[in-house]
């Protein structure tokens, strides 16, 4: 029996087809097939593939599935689960908090014509300042954060109407 695995990592979709038999798994990804034997004990997964042994540990939370293998950690989000892990500022007209922190200054005001790269507001977290800038030319429609506000990861702070949408980007 073959099953489809679709996961997102860092915004990219990764697809593979899988089949399990006993303690073995066959994974087909980009026309390449890999076979591995596996054993699982709680959070620990031991894999043997092509004579090489890999030890991985896994855990899950609301953001997705965390996997650590050889000092590298991967946060994988099974398709269909779009949690906070997807992060911020995907849409060009929504500027979201890239981390949990505090607003230290607000430059943007409703109606402001911002050029790409203009400072909109500054957030501080872990004693460091981060400048949120306009992703493209446009008009500020809404500013949600105020100086001193605590903001959560992914929280909407500024909405902008791109100049291109307003008509005639040359």
């Amino acid at each position: 029996m073959s099953r489809q695995l679709v996961i997102r990592w860092s915004g990219k979709a990764i697809e593979a087809s899988l089949s399990f038999r006993g303690g073995g798994v066959r994974l087909k990804r980009d026309a390449v097939t890999i076979e591995a034997d596996y054993q699982r004990n709680g959070a620990v997964i031991m894999l043997t593939t092509g004579g090489a042994a890999h030890r991985a540990v896994v855990a899950k939370d609301a953001r997705g599935l965390w996997i650590s293998c050889r000092g590298r950690t991967w946060l994988l989000v099974p398709e269909g689960r779009e949690g906070a892990a997807r992060g911020a500022a995907d849409a060009p007209d929504e500027i979201r908090a890239p981390m949990t922190g505090r607003v230290v200054s607000v430059v943007a005001g409703v109606g402001m014509e911002a050029k790409e790269g203009d400072l909109l507001l500054t957030i501080e977290a872990m004693k460091m300042e981060f400048r949120l800038i306009a992703p493209e030319d446009g008009t500020v429609l809404e500013v949600i954060g105020a100086e001193g506000d605590r903001v959560e990861l992914g929280q909407l702070l500024v909405r902008m109407k791109p100049a291109a949408a307003a008509g005639g980007k040359s």
Partner: protein, 494 residues
């Protein structure tokens, strides 16, 4: 222990060795944190904001009185370089484990430490102290010549620091540097100086007893991002015996000039011509102090405590081999070093010959945005640099931390990078190159994901007609199904 996380845990370890009872303090956000449990007792000192807890002198002194603490160790950061706190401790009849308020004022302030360095014959970089307005900065920078560096007068750690290649950049950087300095240290005065380039950051560890001082070799900490150190090592791979001796002599002269008591670090920039320039003094224990401890066998916290108790200065120790420290931070190095939060779901620390881990977290602990992003330090010692490097790589490869994005992969990338392997490390190395990070998930991680998410529940017990049937690696629980049925509201822990 007037601090939190790894340094609080590390100081408590020495106190235990010395059979001295320890008291931890914690903010409401740190209830149940690793450091709270590392001490013999613990006291809540206020709400999460640092100003209400770890910077709250009255609450700290009250905790000292309530528990009968005779001395306070300030760690690093927070109040460790506050002369006002050292004075408040003295007035409250509690020993501050660190220098006198006077030494701290002289050396902790960049402007007066520069003058003290000049008096002691220590080479300094051309610059001006106390630039208050952007116009002053522009005028002074014009005299010194670009590029220039802006720094907070009030403290270290890279906060309030900006470099500017020309007048336009300086104009843009000034306000944000001033504000960051004000936020971090409650002091918005800035210092402007010429930028030495390409430079290495080399610092000398010293211990003083108020009269005399010893130097305990150098640490090179050139690999920095936003003026925060990432990897630190000792010895510096290119330092000649002569230059090392000159740097040590300069550091000791400055410590004597300041009648310094306790541990301090004198930081220098090593220029491309081999010349070195005084940067600043950190009048406290440094984050990277284990690098020196691994080479000298000396416990610097014990030395601090003994000096504070009126004990003698230790003899200058011989230094052995090579040590490298990596700072594990809750940050995403591949996306602008954004601070990361989350819950520590799983933790596995490395072990091995010559490996030391100074951890400030435990499993189940939330990592929040209130404090510094340092989670732990991993230090490896070897007979030579290559052995230390290989041991540190092996250690980081066996470290597992799930639930919070960290810079672990980046640390490995740096340690394996040609620039680091050959010792070509400069203060601009990290920021002058692109570090795009991995492009995709490797097969073994994808296979592990497949097993975790989709493997049949009893797979390891079925159809394996061999010894594996009796293996201890029996699958526990119905993990894969739990995940898919676990669709709580986005962003909420389930």
């Amino acid at each position: 222990m007037a601090n939190r996380a790894e340094i609080a845990v590390r100081v408590c370890r020495t106190l235990r060795d010395m059979k001295i009872a320890s008291v931890a303090v914690y903010s409401e956000a740190d209830r149940g944190a690793h450091h709270m449990r590392a001490a013999d007792e613990s006291v809540c000192i206020g709400s999460p904001a640092p100003a209400d807890s770890y910077l709250n002198m009255a609450a700290l002194l009250e905790a000292a009185h309530a528990t009968g603490a005779e001395a306070i160790h300030p760690g690093y950061g927070f109040l460790s370089q506050s002369a006002a706190f050292a004075r408040a401790c003295k007035e409250a009849g509690v020993v501050f484990i660190g220098p006198s308020a006077e030494s701290m004022e002289l050396l902790g302030d960049k402007a007066s430490s520069r003058r003290a360095a000049e008096r002691s014959g220590v080479p300094i970089i051309p610059g001006v102290e106390g630039v208050a307005r952007v116009d002053d900065a522009l005028r002074e920078a014009g005299k010194i010549g670009y590029p220039v560096l802006l720094k907070a007068v009030g403290g270290g750690g890279g906060r309030g620091m900006r470099r500017a290649g020309d007048a336009a950049e300086l104009r843009g950087a000034f306000e944000s540097a001033r504000r960051e300095a004000e936020t971090a240290f409650g002091d918005d005065r800035l210092f402007l100086e010429k930028l030495v380039y390409p430079a290495r950051h080399v610092e000398i560890q010293i211990l003083g007893d108020g009269t005399d001082a010893i130097a305990i070799g150098e640490r090179e900490c050139s690999l920095q991002r936003r003026y925060q150190k990432v990897l630190e090592e000792s010895p510096c791979s290119i330092l000649s015996e002569e230059t090392r001796a000159a740097m040590e002599a300069a550091a000791v002269a400055l410590a004597r000039e300041a009648r310094y008591a306790g541990a301090a670090t004198v930081e220098f920039l090593l220029g491309p011509d081999g010349g070195f320039y005084f940067l600043e003094v950190n009048t406290r224990l440094q984050v990277e102090h284990p690098v020196t401890e691994m080479r000298s066998g000396l416990d610097l916290v014990r030395a601090q405590i003994e000096i504070a108790a009126g004990g003698p200065l230790p003899k200058k120790p011989a230094l052995h081999g090579h040590a490298i420290e990596a700072r594990l931070n809750a940050e995403d190095p591949y996306h602008g070093y954004l601070p990361q939060t989350g819950n520590v779901l799983l933790l596995e620390w490395p072990e091995g010959e010559g490996v030391r881990v100074d951890a400030g977290i435990r499993k189940g602990q939330p990592i929040h945005a209130h404090y510094d992003s340092l989670l732990a330090k991993v230090i490896a010692h070897g007979r030579d640099r290559e052995e230390a490097r290989r041991r540190l790589i092996a250690a980081l490869e066996s470290l597992a931390l799930l639930g919070v994005t960290t810079n672990q992969a980046f640390l490995l990338e740096l340690l394996e990078d040609r620039a680091f392997a050959t010792g070509e490390t400069f203060t601009h190395t990290l920021e002058s190159r692109e570090w795009p990070g991995p492009v995709t998930v490797p097969d073994e991680a994808l296979l592990a994901a497949a097993v975790a998410l989709l493997a049949p529940p009893d797979a390891s017990r079925l159809g394996r007609d061999d010894a594996d049937r009796y293996s201890p690696w029996l699958r526990l629980g119905t993990w894969g199904r739990a995940f898919s049925s676990n669709r709580g509201p986005d962003g909420n822990a389930t």
